[in-house]
Symmetry: D2
Subunit: 367 residues, 4 copies
């Protein structure tokens, strides 16, 4: 597609870890084109290459090298249609709202609006149906918005686990309970993030707020949308078949790729066998792929047969980090089935999810 | 105690990882004295300092530096009373039996005899009562042994979890189910063990045979000894109140100290509160401490209040690695209570356990 | 190019670390096509995907997945023209000679023939002129060979340093002395290679034979070819202007990418300034690039301006690992100029060098 | 010694990395007793155990657990005689001067006064003779001080190298030039210090200001004190026999222990042999040991014979981190002799040096 016909996009938080990843991914996108970059007051009005401490393994894309960084104000992004937000949670809330009010389509990686009852929390391989909440979100604004909205993606550790859970629920009906122990990469904490003094030769068995996010977000993502008699829509939080989720989150000395040990119990008895589970995971296809989203992984879930996979170093870049790897599917002595999940926390767990969400929105005609 | 009055001990597998740890610990022991070292044919007849590639952070104890390494044959250990075995599993079985037949008290860290129905599998902070099986073990030998026996300690990852489980069962009655996800140090695999290529910037979600060991050993250790009408004793494998254990074992880039995320469900309803669990753990006292074993930790279980502890690098050397650290005691959404355990896999998870077992045997008059 | 017109190549040591890298790189080559794979007797006659423990971050190329592994005998590679050897040094010597005798063009990463006075030791970004020794190498065989020869590439740590040294000698004349301290990645030791117990939270200030290799190979590579009165050619080992090289080699916990701190003293006085050195490095162009070798890097040497670069994690994949990164060019208080070099030890430091050497041979009509 | 007869000491910067190390070491000191702790305004008036994020592998000493943290003002330390400063460089300057003016003996680990022409820069294993500058330092104050003074210790990477250099100069006369490449532990950067994102699977070939410190401090430490005709003393900066030092500093993923590759050229020809160098290093005895300083290492320099030592993980705790380890003494092709040095950057490279300096001052009657 000729650049003139591409959709102009802006990136907020462009100098941060997630912002850098947005820029890397968008610099080669088939129908989005990087047009404006926003960052804090300290960086604004500098050339991007001067403002950023670039920490990606690929060089800074030439298209952004000489862009002048803007402040994160809607008027600085006037020519853009789509905004990707990699802002930190301490500033993301009001800034993203200002962009929505100014009629931008905002795709956010920040946690601020995930619990908003009118904001879809979308893992694009799982619940694109939640885009149906956007009309109500616009209508609540005064005056009602024509084009503006916010869609968030999930926490990086939630993203990894909801994909196989969704595949299993689609095949075998509701999951009743789910235990998750994570081993999360340091890139999930941004930069400078985790001190090397805390993580070299070490495990930190705690990530502030992470377990609560996993336990709550999973319910919103795997739940549906219900509608009251007077037409008000709400996320049902998996209420029709309560799902109990228990998460234990750990930080490990891994740069990229969250590994999660998962065990589930199904409502339906008898539960599926490990082999049935493997087949259901392999055959799961995402709406994003069906909708021909260019960043969606061809294989939503790869199921390893080798006993010692997936491993973050070897498997995190599979399908450019957009797919989910699962291995060690086997019976659990306590619940029904246990397995290991690997998701790339900075790709499908962050920037890639936002981008596929935007691709879905284009495909659905919302943008 | 004057050296002449100390009990002479030998170490088998003296050049290996566990053997080196035995030697470090025994070189300063109040009533055991290192007298003979055994290793493979390749090392035999060399000076220990020439045969070993010493990998401990403390220098080789001067007492063993010039000992001549022996082959692992009973006749080479004639003056010893007690044998500590750090042999690899591929050779430990018949060698340990030969020493038992030759009337040595054998304390083994190898897995070979752990499932033997007449060999106690003793975590010295938990089930010293299992020493009661020794008379039957001796009697089965032909001719019956006077002094020889084998006692094994548990797998390093089992050891960490059975201590708090024992404390909880003592306080609140039987545990019904237990889910464990481990993050295990590379030292658990010996030397050279894990290739750096496999573990730098990585997690390996699999350790061959480890999950089965944890699920089986836990039942033997936490079970009692039952006696049939004709006086035959057997380990009851927690049979009176079945306990389901599900383990997921991972290798992480940590040198020493296994971290384990545990969740339990109690048989008794309602279950104890997190605060009751904390108190039960703190107040748990081991038989080994009560019996004044010099290597037993004064505090069997330390309970951390900070949310991000225990951590292997900071907590693995607590009480010379002989105690167990627990943290993050809280409610579980799926089972009842979840928490994090840290145990030093090469101290209480290996050599220290064998040594305390020997101290217990001395205290009980079995040696 | 249609596959039928591609040059068929075989890989020896195909299941090893270097062999896997050869296969990854050759699976997408514009004019070489993978045709046969050789490994030890243990792997022979298995499907490659069954024989190999694949440790690359990209999946096994589909083209080799179902190839049957052969023994490393010339008759099994009859249809191939070119042989890439990733064999271990303990077996490489006679096997490579057998392939040469059978008229194969052998490009070896092994050290065995590097010191052979008739075998070119070629870093393809530096001394492609050494291919001129091949006729003499063939003529020495009885009967003289028509097509067979062996060309080796250099040790991975030598490769990194000779490229900037060659650039500097080309611009400023002979270097008189050179001090090098390396910080080498664990992948340089193959698999399983370095035990994690030796390298986590550690540096090992010794790599057996490495310093001698660097000190010797540098002289052969940077030297020319002299010819005696009776037409016998020999590598002159930088003899016309003696160069003293002192290397100190260390292993560090890095997966890929050797970092080297280098300081040089020039023969010519006054020596060049740091800025002149930077310019000479940037403008250096390799014969391989001039000869349009498809795997040659467009920029032979990248010179970083930021004070903290190059870094192995960020810079090792620059130009697919085929280029050399230099940074921190500055004056030395003892010699003249010091700087930091980064080279990808498994790309340009190993398989990529062999492949570019083969491309050079094709370009020169030697194949 | 009864506590009442011990010398009361205070620690400034008590919550920081170096401060914590001071506290660990001083809590068991034979004649210093911890009496007051100072930190920033933010920590002041809290209990130490609440103010600190304790990151040491030993628990907080009970003696300080309930001390109330003071602000870093002399009046809060009235009962102390000696002050140890672990303050950050951005605040250390004026605070340390205020304590000196208030007649405290200040032993500082900060860099602020190292270049002061009247402040001794003392590595206690090397140049205790520099204490001779203290009378002049006191006299310059207006009014002249009776008891107050400042003594600093060296940068952690300087400390490691000057000890063997001093030993070599004592045995073989002046060193003419010295090349040093360091591989420094992350603990040298304090807490949080180095981001894990920068150092996992990586080397950073740059530490701001470090090379300049090493090149300058070495001259001051190894130089003498000269006296002008009018009795003014000055550090001669090794001026009588100029010494050129060239340092290249790298950060590596090691927690504790700086490894340094060193090569030296002696003024005297012919230079000593490697064996003579080994003997000179082994036989070097420090003034601190001769003066019976309790924290001084019995063996100032340990010389390893194994080719792969010293290693930071195995050797950094030798003699409680107070001694220096050297290995791989061999000839250099460019200078004369090269070797590897390991020094514990947080022990002899920081807090332990200050403490031995204070012990020396007591021994010399300066306190």
């Amino acid at each position: 597609m000729h650049d003139a016909r591409k959709i102009k996009v802006g990136v907020l938080g462009a100098t941060g870890t997630v912002g850098q990843r947005f820029i890397s991914l968008l610099s080669e996108h088939p129908f989005f084109v990087l047009h404006a970059l926003g960052a804090s007051h300290r960086s604004a009005s500098k050339l991007y290459s001067h403002a950023v401490t670039w920490k990606q393994t690929r060089p800074i894309p030439s298209v952004v090298r000489d862009l002048v960084v803007e402040e994160c104000k809607p008027e600085c992004f006037a020519e853009c249609e789509v905004i990707f937000s990699g802002l930190d949670a301490d500033v993301a809330g009001p800034i993203e709202e200002a962009f929505r009010s100014a009629e931008f389509a905002v795709f956010s990686n920040a946690k601020n609006h995930r619990r908003d009852p009118n904001v879809p929390l979308v893992v694009p391989l799982v619940n694109s149906s939640h885009f149906a909440m956007i009309p109500q979100q616009r209508a609540l604004h005064s005056p009602p918005l024509q084009k503006g909205f916010i869609v968030t993606n999930a926490n990086c550790s939630t993203t990894g686990v909801v994909v196989p859970l969704a595949a299993l629920e689609r095949a075998f009906g509701p999951i009743e309970s789910c235990m998750i122990t994570t081993m999360q990469a340091i890139s999930g904490a941004g930069y400078p993030g985790v001190s090397s003094f805390d993580i070299l030769d070490n495990v930190v068995p705690y990530i502030g707020g992470e377990e609560e996010k996993m336990e709550w977000e999973t319910l919103k993502i795997l739940g549906g949308i219900s509608e009251s008699d007077d037409g008000v829509r709400s996320f049902d939080m998996h209420a029709r078949q309560p799902l109990r989720v228990s998460a234990q989150c750990n930080r490990v000395p891994v740069i990229e790729g969250h590994t999660e040990c998962v065990s589930v119990r199904f409502a339906r008895r008898p539960p599926p066998s490990p082999q049935q589970v493997r087949e259901a995971l392999v055959s799961f296809t995402s709406d994003a792929w069906t909708a021909s989203c260019p960043s969606a992984p061809r294989h939503t879930i790869f199921v390893h047969e080798e006993p010692d996979r997936p491993q973050p170093r070897l498997d995190r870049d599979y399908q450019a980090g957009a797919g989910i790897s699962v291995g060690r599917v086997r019976q659990c002595q306590v619940l029904d089935i246990k397995f290991v999940v690997l998701a790339n926390n900075v790709a499908i767990g962050a920037a890639t999810s936002s981008i596929i969400n935007a691709e879905l929105a284009v495909s659905k005609g919302i943008i």
